[in-house]
Symmetry: none
DNA sequence: AAATTTATTTAGACAAATCTAAATAAATTT
DNA sequence: AAATTTATTTAGATTTGTCTAAATAAATTT
């Protein structure tokens, strides 16, 4: 099934708002999220209902059908992978990527996203730490730790960054730390809380507690 | 000035068709190129005329104004850089990229394309050999020759291909001829107009006049 | 030169996505 | 419980981009 840009935005929005709460998604929540009028939301929701993508109960709210959810997850996957691309490859700061990925998510090509996924090293989650659905639409929750909490000898993959600032992203770039990099904890220095690590079993560096507190690791 | 997707497609189309011929671009040529009805073309051309992006003379045809040309070149730059990305980074074949780049060219972000340009190593031309306008919209033309016109002993770099049919691209792939390959003319055969060449000082092959007529060389 | 064919424009319609203003339902306050 | 406020829907309008069918202009053939 192919959707228009607007339909895709609505489907993804419903999905994301549904994740945050149990109940049906309200018209105003949608209007707020998408910066459109409540009237427009009602309009589109009714269209999506007629297409079997959502279940809509007047004055109650909306929820995704299985088909709608499947579509929403595909769009979210595209959105998140493009975010990884923008941060990891083009060195954008966090604040700038949302608007661009919001456009890129609509690019329609069967093979493009899977190639992008591979090119990016099959990242586990977006720069914001949101888990990226796999090509089958499955969302696999791996446990995650702060790099701070890894013990000596342990290793894992950099999967998200908690700090937004350009300064931090630049620091990471300079130290060859990127999403998908393999980090091994060599030694934890008691005195100042810093950690000796290797990146991709190659570069050995020491990073401070402030750094390890802002890096999320999966196995 | 910001344009809609459709406007951008029209502007780029007029630019590309204008490059191939001296005279005004006709309605049918546009309709053919964009796979839309002649009536739709006339409609949109009139809108673009009212916005000062094209000069349109009824029944005669259309040409870009300076403002229109500036916009068209920006879109073309985006289109070509995304093509490089798709081939160079995501390993798409030349035949698959057109449709995707046709979508990606509409992504709107001031900094995105310049970062992409840098990420790709500031390529001189697209996979099809079309020169990529720089960030200022300047198109710097290096001199190029048909491979046919190189004399014996001369060598140069494959920088463009005049025929982008799948058949020709497949032929080139099979013979290890690619953009950036170094070709040296070993001998020009008078009898049938064919040429003996080496590719990257490695493979020695004979190619026909029809082939050399479709390969452009820079030094 | 007239007839015919081809190219182009105009007219009228339509779908998609949005808006504002008015109507109505639901929730909250008094 | 009634009044008021808030949320939601409906009605009507607008913009964008497209189409088909009919009208007209330009080019070509007879
Ligand atoms: Mn985001
Ligand atoms: Mn979007
Ligand atoms: Mn192309
Ligand atoms: Mn396009």
């Amino acid at each position: 099934m192919k959707h228009t840009h607007a339909e895709e935005n609505y489907l993804k929005a419903i999905y994301m708002l549904s994740e945050k709460q149990e109940s049906l998604v309200s018209t105003t929540a949608m209007a707020d999220f998408l910066h459109t009028s409540a009237a427009s939301i009602t309009d589109m929701i009714q269209k999506l209902h007629n297409k079997g993508l959502v279940i809509y109960r007047k004055y109650q709210g909306v929820t995704l059908t299985d088909r709608g959810k499947e579509s929403a997850i595909k769009i979210l996957r595209k959105y998140l992978l493009w975010e990884v691309f923008l941060v990891d490859k083009l060195k954008f700061g966090w604040s700038e990527i949302h608007e661009i990925a919001e456009q890129l998510e609509h690019i329609d090509c069967d093979t493009l996203i899977d190639r992008l996924d591979h090119f990016l090293g099959n990242p586990y989650c977006s720069p914001h730490g949101i888990v990226i659905p796999n090509a089958d639409g499955k969302i696999i929750d791996k446990p995650r730790w702060l790099l701070t909490d890894l013990s000596e000898g342990a290793s894992g993959i950099v999967s998200a960054i908690k700090d937004d600032s350009v300064a931090f992203l630049q620091y990471l770039g300079k130290r060859n730390i990127y999403l998908g990099a393999k980090i091994t904890v060599i030694e934890k220095i008691q005195f100042d809380g810093s950690t000796d690590i290797t990146i991709d079993n190659q570069y050995k560096i020491n990073i401070s507690r402030k750094i390890t507190d802002n890096i999320l690791i999966t196995l």
